[in-house]
């Protein structure tokens, strides 16, 4: 199977259109990305980092692309009304891969902070974009990143200048909306300069019952002593394919808190690469997955400790039901000289049915001696004694199981810093376990 050929042809045929609709700064790397993509091709399952997800099969179907930037009629508020109650956020929308500029939140961001269209921003500040765009998201070692870079036309930019703290969380809703099967290449660039802080919440939704393939590349640059909280919540549907590559570079003394929550999906592949580039940086990567039916979730992380005195912490929890397949592959790399590194990685999984499969691969690669690194991984079931205890007290087996599963996942949810979001997720997770559609009445799908 030669899935890549259709994308190579597509690029050759529509190169002019791609260039015509995008800013120069984004076009500057397009040809290089194309060369890399043509050379690499889609990774096979023999490639260690893609062992658990067959990329070629995911990219094989013939999806439509909106290269000509046709306006897709949508009212995002109509498609999405699942506001998080009590969470006062600055709300933005991305429809497919385009920043939706027709509605702007009432609240104003602090001066200098930009949340907007990547393409527009690249047009206005090419010098800034040139220093960051496609720098850590290297096109020569990941075919999906290369594909995204060569086809991306818009997306989101978040720019927080030096020493500016954005108090109010910024919520970005990614809405997939189309009347035909659609491929979307979304690009996000986050720049948090020295001493700045921001909390970001990305929610993925699919408004139409179509097949979607969304590739996403997020590059996040976190400056000295800066802070970034990044929450990603996926609630799409069974026909949705999401391939997301997240790259983070942390400078000295910076803090990153990243949570990735997959509740509903079709096939999801999340790659997270984090580089500790400055001493004293700290990061916490958390994730939870609740999957059933034939859902497929693959989380792949790499934490690269390049300098001494950094701390990293990972916790991923999965509950699998039905015929779900899920994988967690984490790798902590401690480079020579990165002394006093503290790194912990935990992955815990519950397989609730015989047909659910879990693959887990927590890896440590350590080239420095004065470090404390640990990883733990478990696959198991709910505690029989605890179930028995609850049943003795008149709680039905079903309810008791729910309580335990709920408690299991809560460890991840509880680490979320935004209290209203935490409450909301508690509710969503409970609904999810009860098999109710975890969408509110307002959504198009629910009506």
């Amino acid at each position: 199977m030669q899935s890549e050929q259709q994308y190579i042809d597509l690029y050759n045929n529509s190169r002019r259109m791609l260039f015509g609709h995008s800013a120069d700064a984004m076009n500057a790397v397009r040809d290089r990305a194309f060369d890399d993509f043509s050379r690499l091709g889609f990774p096979t399952r023999k490639v260690e980092r893609y062992k658990y997800t067959d990329m070629e099969a995911l990219f094989a179907p013939d999806y439509g692309l909106n290269i000509n930037r046709l306006d897709i009629p949508v009212n995002p508020y109509d498609a999405f009304r699942c506001d998080v109650p009590n969470l006062s956020t600055s709300l933005y929308f991305i429809v497919n891969d385009a920043f939706y500029s027709k509605t702007q939140p009432k609240s104003h961001l602090p001066e200098g902070v930009v949340v907007g269209s990547l393409n527009d921003f690249a047009g206005k500040h090419p010098e800034l974009i040139a220093g960051y765009y496609a720098r850590i998201a290297r096109t020569d070692e990941d075919a999906v990143t290369a594909l995204n870079t060569m086809l991306a036309q818009d997306g989101l930019v978040v720019y927080v200048p030096k020493n500016v703290v954005v108090d109010r969380a910024v919520q970005v809703i990614n809405i997939l909306r189309s009347d035909v099967d659609l491929m979307v290449n979304r690009r996000v660039l986050i720049i948090v300069e020295d001493g700045a802080e921001i909390k970001l919440l990305f929610c993925d939704h699919a408004a139409d019952d179509r097949r979607f393939l969304a590739t996403q590349v997020i590059e996040a640059y976190v400056g000295n002593n800066a802070g970034l909280d990044l929450y990603c919540l996926e609630e799409t549907h069974a026909k949705n394919v999401r391939v997301s590559n997240l790259y983070i570079e942390q400078q000295a003394g910076s803090r990153v808190n990243h949570n990735i929550i997959t509740l509903h999906n079709g096939v999801t592949r999340n790659r997270t690469d984090l580089v500790m580039a400055g001493e004293g940086a700290e990061c916490r990567l958390n994730g939870c997955v609740i999957a059933d039916k034939r859902q497929h979730v693959d989380n792949n992380t790499l934490i690269d400790h390049r300098v001494p005195h950094c701390t990293s912490n990972q916790l991923y929890k999965y509950v699998l039901d039905g015929e779900a397949k899920a994988a967690f592959a984490g790798r902590v790399l401690v480079r020579p000289g990165a002394q006093k590194t503290i790194s912990e990685m935990r992955n815990q999984n519950i397989c609730a049915t015989r047909d659910a499969h879990i693959y887990t691969q927590p890896m440590l690669e350590i080239y420095a001696d004065d470090v404390k690194c640990a990883h733990g991984s478990t696959v198991g079931q709910l505690n029989d004694a605890a179930l028995f205890y609850m049943r003795q007290r008149g709680i039905s087996l079903k309810e008791a199981k729910l309580l335990l599963e709920f408690a299991f996942i809560n460890e991840v949810i509880d680490s979320i810093q935004l209290a209203p979001l935490r409450d909301r997720l508690h509710l969503l997770v409970e609904k999810r376990f009860r098999g109710e559609l975890s969408k509110c009445e307002g959504c198009k799908l629910c009506r």
Binding site: E48, P336, G337, Q339, N349, C351, A352, T353, R354, A356, H357, I358, Y359, T360, Q361, P362, M363, L364, E365, I366, Y367, A368, D369, D370, V371, K372, C373, A374, H375, G376, S377, T378, V379, G380, Q381
Partner: protein
């Protein structure tokens, strides 16, 4: 003032360390001598004729030759694997001689009846006396030099109980049905690149058959020695434990010190039937190369046991101190219900040694249990990796696995890595894995120092304590040797 004290302490510790490092560096690899014995070595190179020649030299039946040729044909279609975390160069398989026979009669000489006294002396020097009256009464030995089994002791005594213990070459002659039934069923020749190579050119190794209900009265052991230059050793061991039997098997190995790298690609196959138990222990001490990483043995081995019977048990214990490069994953296929598998490993790497070792536990039967305890110790500029797979099949109800792999780093230029894989396809399985990597705790060192134990002794104590969990699993005869090896390999690497 305090600062000064600290500095002094540091300098003292450094001096001590340097002294010790020097002492240890001067200590030669104990078994690095060569034996001057007439050895018949066939032409270098590997082709179908060589495979036929080896088979002819061993006077093998046609089915054996077929097996070899099929394996060779498959090997030709394969390329050397590169996934290991080792810097294994592209090996020139044509520059190795695949058969070396130290027992061969000299051209025109008379038929030898006795073993060359030089050979006897060699094994004496290695601590493996081949005369039964001198040997430890508890251990029967199959001594193998290069491609040929020199002698198997206590053969007759074991035969009284129906136990077959001989070289695999003899077994093919004397018990062809048994060998044919089991050979290649645990590690098929298509298993991997080195398994195919071994299946094509293997020479002596041991064959053990324990009949139904027999508990082997003594430890069985094989001792492998590489002596000849420019050769590789490709031994093959097959152990079959029939219903309700028990055997404990030991394996040891050494090689001379040479600047060249010698290849050792072995296969060990173990079949464990109903309620039988096999204990397999290895102390691997191939020549590790010198302190600059020159020379040393490439140890690329496929070892696997299949627990075919209900309630069977297999336990691998390994102490890996030698070899320039180790690529070795003693594995268990838990096919029988209620079967139990264990893997205990201490891997020590120093200087430029590289080890990528671990295990595979494949749970297929119901109520199966496996335990993995792995301790890695890296020093110098070495790289030490644990790579393991735990797979629970869809029918393996109530499978249970516990893995723990710890790494200890001595020195800032070495590396310790963990690559565990877990594939679980059953909802009743409980699989746990934990790993830690750290250096020797300063608190523990300080505690020992406080009580008057010098740093280097304290390190020895701590390392030994750290490896104890595994060393305790070794049979008595080996435990002593292993402990000694551990201290020689390690002491002096830290101050």
């Amino acid at each position: 003032m305090e600062e000064n004290n600290d500095n002094n302490k540091g300098t003292n510790a450094d001096t001590r360390q340097n002294e010790f490092v020097r002492k240890v560096a001067e200590q030669k690899y104990e078994f690095g001598f060569t034996t001057d014995v007439h050895t018949e070595i066939i032409e270098k190179g590997l082709n179908e004729d060589v495979v036929r020649l080896i088979s002819r030299k061993k006077n093998e039946p046609d089915w054996m030759l077929d097996f070899r040729l099929k394996a060779f044909a498959y090997w030709k279609t394969q390329t050397q694997p590169t996934w290991g975390h080792v810097r294994l160069p592209e090996i020139d398989y044509q520059s190795i001689s695949y058969y070396a026979d130290p027992l061969a009669k000299k051209a025109g000489g008379e038929e030898k009846k006795e073993i060359d006294p030089e050979l006897m002396k060699t094994f004496d020097k290695l601590g493996i006396p081949l005369e039964e009256r001198l040997a430890l009464s508890g251990v029967a030995v199959d001594a193998i030099m290069d491609s040929v089994s020199v002698k198997t002791t206590f053969k007759e005594k074991l035969a009284e109980k129906g136990i077959i213990f001989c070289s695999i070459g003899d077994a093919i002659q004397q018990h062809p049905d048994l060998v044919r039934e089991y050979l290649g069923t645990v590690v098929p020749y298509r298993d991997n690149f080195y398994a195919a190579l071994n299946s094509a050119v293997f020479s002596d190794g041991s064959f053990v058959y324990i009949p139904k209900g027999v508990r082997c009265p003594m430890e069985l052991s094989s001792y492998f020695r590489i002596n000849a230059r420019n050769t590789g050793q490709f031994e093959r061991t097959l152990i079959v434990a029939d219903d309700d039997s028990y055997v404990s098997y030991l394996e040891g190995c050494t090689a001379p010190m040479r600047d060249e790298n010698q290849l050792h690609a072995a296969i060990v196959e173990i079949v464990v039937k109903d309620r039988a138990e096999v204990k397999y222990s290895t102390v691997q001490n191939w020549y590790p190369g010198d302190e600059n990483g020159r020379g040393g043995v490439y140890n690329l081995v496929t070892k696997r046991g299949e627990l075919r019977g209900e309630g069977s048990k297999l336990s691998w214990t390994q102490v890996e101190t030698g070899s320039a490069i180790t690529w070795k994953y003693p594995s268990c296929v838990l096919r029988g219900d209620n079967s139990v598998a264990e893997f205990y490993s201490v891997a020590v790497t120093n200087h430029y040694q590289e080890a990528d070792t671990g295990t595979k536990m494949i749970h297929l039967g119901r109520n199966t249990k496996s335990t993995i305890i792995s301790k890695g110790i890296s020093a110098g500029k070495s790289q030490n990796s644990y790579r393991g797979l735990v797979r629970v099949g869809a029918k393996a109800d109530n499978a249970r696995n516990y893995s723990s792999c710890d790494s200890l780093l001595l020195g800032s230029d070495c590396g310790a890595h963990t690559f565990p894989y877990m594939d679980v396809h059953n909802d009743t399985a409980i699989v746990e894995h934990e790993a830690t990597t750290s250096k020797i705790s300063e608190d523990q060192l300080f505690y020992c120092n406080q009580r008057g134990i010098p740093t280097e002794q304290a390190v020895g104590l701590i390392v030994n304590g750290y490896a104890k969990e595994v060393l305790n699993k070794l049979p008595m005869e080996f435990a002593v040797e292993a402990q000694k090896l551990l201290s020689v390999s390690l002491e002096g690497t830290v101050g």
